[in-house]
């Protein structure tokens, strides 16, 4: 408040009043005094009083009590005073709606004033007063102002429509203001056009499905003309609006691009970025072999680089956007590495962003320069920046193989500095380098071990423990090192605990004789003394593995790890596409879709890059933005099946960078000696624990149930459980198998999809349950499959006719045909599906039982069968065991028949039934089978012969599934 008083003194009363007079007045007195001044006859005094009121308002003081007195000052020909009163009104009208109505007459009168500046001022202010009664009175003046002869009034009225829409959308529609606003797009004055575009764009955002903007080649042409003439801000509004348009073909796209490119030379960075957005988007539609396409690519680089000489805040916005552009089109800036070199005086936020882009642009061609720079940065003062620089060196090693050696030696140099956080960061990245280049740089382990004591961050400790465990056989005192960590086990973070558990198990498997005590210690720490379910579960799994089948344990724990990918922190492709459509905006700064930070209906609409339509479509274009229809692109992220997760977990990949998924090939090398390795130690330990630990029964939920199961289960059964999880959802022949969740709601913005496949009367059906677990209604469902092994494709559209409300569930059955495009999948029966709704496109993959494809006319003639069986080479025969099946051969035969597996002949030899069967797949492939059933033996043997032996595994799975149900 002091300055508010001071303020007025400075301006007017410096000599007339004293400070003390203000400071001694009580609040009440002050208001009273102001009231008196506001009602003064002297104009000057009135004006000064209003100024004081505004000053008080600014600092957050409540001066609403003066409302009637201030409003009384409104009718004046002094424009300055009028504006001050208006300012007051905008602030307090909402809290005093009844009194605000007093102002209406003056507003209405002002809207008719001869001076256009006053007309505009009135309509501008009225729109800001959110009081219903005032709003009603606004309609007529607004209608006039929208058609005012003066462009200044029209441009103000255009924005006023948006204001009114924000207060009362219905009223705006009822009064037909939207149409008038649309007409203004053809106004002769460029600023009126720009404001109308801005207002329409905003209104359209809250009506995602309306065709409000109605962009067509004619209106686009008008916008492009206005673009050359309006203010810099107007150009931004128009460009942002243009970016929402989807040209009809590549020709139109090119002609718009040609008219937008001059904007790249504008001094205003926002104009440049918005132009870049339009170009990046429309470029998607241009054929790549077009000359213009490469010209355009070349034109984009210089303005982007120029943005880096703007003020630091804008540089930051530009860099966040360049980060996206580099991911989408690396070719644009690939030669511009140097401009991203960090300057000593750059603000920290600019430095960090530049570093990110440097890593992305690093390639074999520039790696030497980049490394020299990174090494320089690693000696700077800002901790975050130094850490990121060290991490970047590691990334370079992983990305550019030729540089790996140099990177490692640089990292070693940095470790020698003994700067605590540098050492820790270096160890974390060296772990990744080991993952990428196994058996190449392990000579540095000794140096790393020297720094063990200085590590105090979980990530670094975990990385170091991983290294010790992974290379336990080369580190003489690995057991001592790990033991030293074990002392404070319960004080460690989960990450470190998990890692320590795994590392010690690895150590045990490598050096069983010396480390039994250690492994027992860690297993009991993890399972008995921990409240962390992850840790406990992992402890139990290892325990069970070690006690039941050490060979399997070795295969699991010491399995070869999947390669780590070269690029890290890449934005997921669909999100990237969406963000490209939001270049220049907050979304592109946050790298998040608008729905993540904007409330309400705005921003829910997802933007997409257009699809390429041009006639000259080139064949090599893997990165073409896949169309709005959402045909699942190969690169589309599929939800990794649960089995992958579990394996990943067992392989302790929990702290690894993004990996290429897929189960690892089991190690074939050394086999372990079997059970004797364990001695009696573990078994006795296990038994003792179960009996002797009261905590088990008392505190643990699922744990006790797990333990007995592991003890009682036959050897291998437990493992089977572990590995068969992927097959749990495998449906069984004529049965309608249970539906499983394919797409969890968490990963699909609230849409949950579960389903199964069935074959009914010769028609393959995909049966889906869609559940809306989000807060908003879902509509416009559509489905599409990626190419797959058997050409499965939807035979019709997805029939979801009614919108799906929150918490509603709908069952849909989708007939499938087998005439779609074919591509071999792995596994063979994998199906990648894209489901679209009004919110987004979601991708998942599921596996269908191959029995679905067994056609009804699959019964082969006996002779043909015999001939075929002989004809197929023996190499193509595969044999499987079906365990624990208690059916006799006839029951089995009839059960299989239900699933179109036909028995052709039966022979009995020495109490063994031999069934000969044939199957025909929808694509004409024949599979021949011989099933041997021995009375009293629950284990069947099956031999499959087929010209395409890769289907055998799937067919076997069907047998198993059908027979066991």
């Amino acid at each position: 408040m002091e300055w508010a008083n001071q303020l007025c003194e400075n301006r007017q009363f410096g000599s007339k009043m004293t400070d003390s007079k203000y400071f001694t007045t009580t609040k009440k007195g002050e208001i009273f005094e102001l009231k008196a001044e506001l009602n003064s006859d002297k104009k000057e005094k009135k004006k000064e009083a209003v100024k004081k009121v505004i000053a008080s308002m600014t600092v957050g003081k409540d001066v609403s009590a003066l409302f009637p007195d201030v409003v009384n000052c409104m009718q004046t020909d002094n424009l300055e005073l009028k504006k001050l009163v208006y300012l007051y009104l905008m602030n307090y009208a909402k809290s005093q709606p009844d009194m605000a109505i007093m102002a209406v007459n003056t507003f209405v009168k002002d809207c008719e004033d001869a001076n256009p500046l006053i007309r505009a001022l009135a309509v501008r202010t009225m729109g800001c007063i959110r009081v219903d009664k005032i709003t009603e009175y606004l309609c007529e003046p607004l209608r006039k102002c929208l058609k005012d002869e003066d462009p200044y009034v029209r441009k103000t009225a255009a924005v006023c429509v948006a204001k009114l829409h924000d207060i009362n959308a219905q009223l705006v529609e009822d009064q037909g203001f939207l149409d008038t606003l649309k007409d203004l797009i053809s106004d002769s004055n460029p600023m009126v056009v720009a404001n109308a575009v801005a207002a329409l764009s905003e209104i359209a955002e809250s009506h995602p499905n309306s065709n409000l903007l109605d962009l067509n080649p004619q209106s686009i042409n008008k916008l492009l003309t206005a673009l050359n003439e309006c203010t810099e801000w107007g150009q931004i509004f128009i460009l942002d609006c243009l970016a929402n348009y989807t040209p009809r073909d590549d020709r139109e796209s090119q002609s718009i691009c040609e008219r937008v490119t001059p904007r790249l030379s504008h001094a205003n960075s926002a104009v440049v970025l918005s132009a870049v957005k339009v170009l990046m988007k429309f470029m998607e539609m241009l054929p790549k072999d077009l000359d213009y396409y490469s010209t355009l690519l070349k034109k984009l680089a210089p303005p982007l680089v120029t943005l880096l000489s703007a003020e630091p805040e804008l540089q930051y916005v530009a860099l966040r956007n360049i980060n996206l552009i580099v991911q989408k089109r690396p070719e644009i800036l690939k030669h511009e590495m140097k401009v991203f070199f960090v300057k000593y005086n750059d603000p920290i936020y600019v430095k960090l962003e530049k570093l990110d882009i440097m890593i992305r642009l690093a390639s074999q061609a520039n790696i030497a320069q980049v490394l020299a720079e990174l090494k320089e940065y690693a000696t700077e003062v800002d901790v975050d920046f130094v850490r990121k620089a060290v991490r970047a060196i590691g990334r370079c090693a992983i990305k550019v193989e030729q540089s790996a050696e140099r990177c490692v030696s640089t990292l070693l140099d940095l470790i020698q500095t003994k700067v605590n956080y540098v050492v820790q960061e270096a160890i974390v990245v060296i772990k990744d380098i080991f993952r990428k280049y196994p058996n190449k740089y392990e000579s540095v382990i000794a140096t790393l071990c020297e720094n063990l004591d200085s590590l105090d961050e979980p990530e670094a400790r975990a990385a170091m423990i991983w290294i010790v465990g992974e290379y336990a056989e080369r580190i003489d005192n690995a057991d001592e090192l790990l033991e030293s960590f074990l002392e404070g086990f319960h004080d460690e973070s989960t990450q470190v605990q998990l890692q320590l558990l795994t590392a010690i198990v690895k150590l045990f498997l490598k050096k069983p004789t010396e480390t039994q005590e250690l492994v027992q210690q860690v297993l009991s720490l993890a399972t008995q003394d921990s409240d962390n379910p992850d840790l406990r579960d992992r402890g139990y799994i290892y325990w069970r593995l070690l006690s039941t089948d050490p060979v399997a344990a070795k295969e699991v724990v010491l399995a070869e790890k999947p390669l780590i990918s070269e690029e890290t922190d890449l934005i997921e492709p669909t999100l990237l596409e969406e963000l490209i459509c939001h270049i220049g905006t907050l979304a592109s700064v946050y790298h998040k879709p608008p729905s993540a930070f904007v409330e309400g209906s705005r921003g829910v609409m997802h933007k997409r890059l257009p699809a390429r339509t041009g006639s000259g479509e080139s064949t090599e274009s893997p990165d073409v933005g896949t169309a709005a229809g959402g045909s699942a692109p190969e690169a589309a992220p599929s939800i990794i099946p649960s089995q992958g997760d579990l394996l990943g977990d067992l392989l302790n990949l929990d702290m690894a960078p993004p990996t290429t998924s897929g189960p690892p090939p089991p190690t074939t090398g050394m086999q372990m000696g079997g059970m004797d390795l364990l001695g009696g130690g573990l078994d006795s330990l296990l038994g003792g624990d179960i009996g002797g630990s009261p905590a088990m029964g008392a505190g643990f939920g699922a744990a006790p149930a797990v333990m007995p199961a592991s003890l009682n289960a036959p050897v291998g059964g437990g493992l089977g459980d572990l590995f068969d999880l992927g097959g749990v959802g495998m449906p069984m022949g004529a049965y309608i198998p249970p539906k499983i969740v394919w797409l969890p709601a968490m990963k699909a913005k609230g849409l949950e999809i579960s389903g199964t496949f069935a074959r009914r009367a010769g028609v393959i059906q995909m049966e889906l349950i869609l559940t809306n677990k989000a807060m908003s209604v879902m509509t416009d469902f559509a489905i599409q499959f990626n190419r797959n092994s058997f050409g499965l494709a939807p035979a019709g559209p997805l029939q979801v006719l009614t919108p799906l409300g929150p918490n509603q569930t709908i069952e849909v059955s989708l007939p499938l045909s087998t005439v779609g495009p074919v591509m071999k999948m792995d596994p063979l029966n994998n199906l990648q599906v894209a489901v679209k709704n009004n919110i987004d496109v979601f991708y998942f993959s599921c596996q269908y039982p191959i029995s679905m494809l067994f056609v009804e006319d699959g019964k082969m003639e006996r002779q043909v069968f015999l001939a075929t069986w002989k004809d197929i080479p023996n190499d193509n025969e595969s044999q499987f065991q079906i365990k624990d099946c208690h059916l006799n051969s006839d029951a089995a035969s009839s059960k299989l028949q239900g699933s179109n597996i036909f028995t052709i002949a039966k022979r009995t030899v020495e109490g063994q039934d031999m069934l000969y069967m044939s199957i025909k797949l929808s694509n004409g492939i024949w599979v021949l089978a011989e099933l041997r059933v021995q009375a009293g033996n629950p284990n069947y043997t099956i031999s499959l012969k087929c010209r395409a032996p890769e289907v055998s595994q799937c067919v076997f799975q069907c047998y198993e599934a059908v027979l066991k149900n």
């Binding site: 256009p116 942002d240 504008h266 003020e311 000593y344």
Partner: protein
């Protein structure tokens, strides 16, 4: 769009608060103060998201300007607007300081009402604003005057009013370049670029149509091929510089004031415009090729034991001997634990400034093709700090009377068809100044 705009002093007290959107409340004012101005940590980003509200801020001396929004606004536009806002305020009342803001708060509110409507930036050219936001009221304006104002504010040429008259038509062109360098200790150029500006002061009557030409490689090559050389001959404005041999320069990129017709530049690469009255920036450009680096710094740092550093720095000037560089300053960073420094230099004055952790060596003037050196002994206090000294780069400041990029103005033609003065009657002045930007050599 922008939901509100606040101005704070360094203590976090609100000086100006204008809310445009209903979704922004008074609590936003406090949220920014608490989370950004009073934040313990150094500011890590110019954009902050607090409780789903985004804050954009820029700082001018110790004044904070913050724009607030809850929508997915055009972030680049918001920052451009905040800068523009500072320019407008500076044009009205000088430096953006707490004192000036308090003294002009009514004016600022009036400006904010005009240049932001419902959070949408409107015409913010000071030339236009000053015609009707005057703090004098609008009494006495005739109808013609009023419509002239409104058509200028909304019109195609929003930056210039009609009816300007000068007795003497005169224009001044300043080519101001800042040359940036990052050099390795071994003298290898890691990165170098010139960012230049062409600033024009025009005192021209009427609505003159101007055409600006420079030795842009693309234009010269085109002209050379086509055999059109008449314009090159008329380079009456050329001069200065040290690059007599070089005919044309490659411009990486340039941006123009909004008065320049961009589509014409894009198609013909000609720069034509109707200039604003008075001083403004016509264009900015950037070059990276064939830059004349006016100085070369050769550092030699030797650590003698743990408590002593020996530093020797040689600077060499690299331009025509007839030209003089001015205001030369070399800044040699010293470690934090420096206890004493002895300096010997042959030219200029050198001083160790403990508060800045640097030896500052100043030379008033230096001709081209000369060299000078400084040597210093730095005594260090023993420390047990494990962290090594980061060795910040040696930086340099200077001013030279030529354009390091080699840019030359070839012509600036003025046409005013309605008034009777021609291109020849206009008095034109051109000046070239090259200054150091970030001119650093690592040591």
């Amino acid at each position: 769009m922008i939901g509100g705009l606040f101005i704070y002093n360094h203590k976090g007290e609100v000086l100006i608060s204008r809310v445009y959107r209903d979704d922004i409340g008074r609590n936003a004012v406090d949220a920014f103060r608490v989370n950004v101005i009073h934040a313990r940590q150094q500011v890590r980003s110019p954009v902050t998201n607090i409780a789903r509200t985004s804050f954009f801020h820029v700082k001018r001396s110790n004044i904070w300007l913050a724009a607030v929004t809850k929508q997915n606004v055009n972030a680049a536009m918001v920052f451009e607007f905040l800068y523009k806002m500072c320019d407008v305020m500076a044009a009205y009342f000088g430096k953006v300081s707490e004192e000036n803001i308090k003294n002009n708060f009514v004016l600022i509110y009036e400006l904010l009402d005009e240049i932001l409507d419902f959070g949408y930036p409107q015409n913010s050219e000071t030339g236009a604003l000053k015609t009707f936001i005057t703090q004098q009221g609008i009494k006495g304006q005739t109808k013609e005057e009023q419509s002239q104002i409104t058509s200028q504010v909304t019109g195609q040429i929003g930056w210039r009013r009609e009816g300007i008259k000068y007795r003497r038509n005169e224009l001044f062109l300043d080519v101001l370049e800042s040359v940036n360098l990052l050099m390795s200790p071994q003298g290898q150029v890691l990165s170098a670029h010139v960012s230049g500006r062409v600033v024009m002061k025009s005192y021209l009557s009427g609505m003159p149509e101007c055409k600006f030409g420079m030795n842009d490689k693309i234009v010269i090559d085109k002209a050379g091929k086509g055999g059109v050389t008449d314009e090159v001959g008329k380079s009456d404005l050329g001069g200065g510089g040290s690059t007599s041999g070089k005919q044309s320069i490659a411009i990486d990129d340039c941006t123009f004031n909004q008065c320049v017709r961009l589509s014409k530049f894009d198609s013909e690469r000609s720069i034509s415009f109707i200039p604003p009255d008075g001083e403004y920036e016509l264009m900015r450009y950037r070059t990276t090729k064939d830059i004349i680096l006016p100085f070369r710094v050769i550092p030699l740092v030797r650590e003698v034991g743990r408590t002593k550093l020996e530093v020797k720095v040689v600077i060499k000037s690299n331009f025509k001997p007839s030209l003089l560089a001015q205001k030369i300053e070399v800044r040699i960073p010293t470690p934090l634990n420096t206890s004493g420094v002895q300096v010997i230099c042959m030219k200029g004055k050198a001083k160790y400034k403990a508060s800045e952790n640097a030896i500052v060596w100043k030379i008033k003037r230096m001709a081209g093709m000369k060299e000078s050196q400084i040597s210093a002994e730095i005594e260090l206090l023993p420390t047990n700090d494990k962290k090594k000294w980061a060795r910040p780069p040696i930086s340099m400041n200077f001013e030279v009377p030529f354009a390091p990029s080699g840019l030359k103005v070839r012509y600036l033609k003025v046409f005013e068809s309605k008034l009777n003065y021609s291109d020849h009657d206009v008095v034109k002045w051109v000046r070239y100044i090259g200054r150091s930007g970030i001119y650093e050599t690592r040591c």
